[in-house]
Assembly symmetry: C2
Homo-oligomer: 106 residues x 2
Amino acid sequence: MMKRHALFQEAGFKDEAPNNYLVHDSPYFKVINFNFKAGQKLPVHSHDIEGQLTIAVLEGQGKFLGKDEAEMPAETGDVLVSDIAEPHGIQAETDMRVLVTIAPPI
Amino acid sequence: MMKRHALFQEAGFKDEAPNNYLVHDSPYFKVINFNFKAGQKLPVHSHDIEGQLTIAVLEGQGKFLGKDEAEMPAETGDVLVSDIAEPHGIQAETDMRVLVTIAPPI
């Protein structure tokens, strides 16, 4: 089942909201590519379930968001690891592409 | 447990072999950053166990390797999805940083 996804070609940006592109969904994990135009955000949220997620920045920069208005830099090559149950979000400062991996899949 | 890993600062390259940097290991997944100097490779291999992995190219370019000497381009922003049991590998053409996510963890 080996499959290559060329995300910089396959997924673009939207003016009205972050572009959400499902890369892979299986019993093992769900993989989603979010593309943000500068200024777009994924507001802080959480789900009260078991599991963890990573957010890897493929291009651009912004901030990782956490609980109590916490902010951390999010630069290309950064990876955030979080429990799914922990509040998390993203704020884009430039156009920004990130890869989110959720295990087990929601 | 939210944690940010700034891979471009935290992990470098080695002359003698790919640099292998453990980002995260939990019951849900294992996340490893491999950095290849141009010409280095992770030879094709597989493990006869359940599960899947992704290889996301954070920087640089090369080839994804598969069974029977299969090759696919591996450019920045590309993501390869594979069963753990399926032969897979990487050949770097430039200096190259990739993020490997394995679920469940090996």
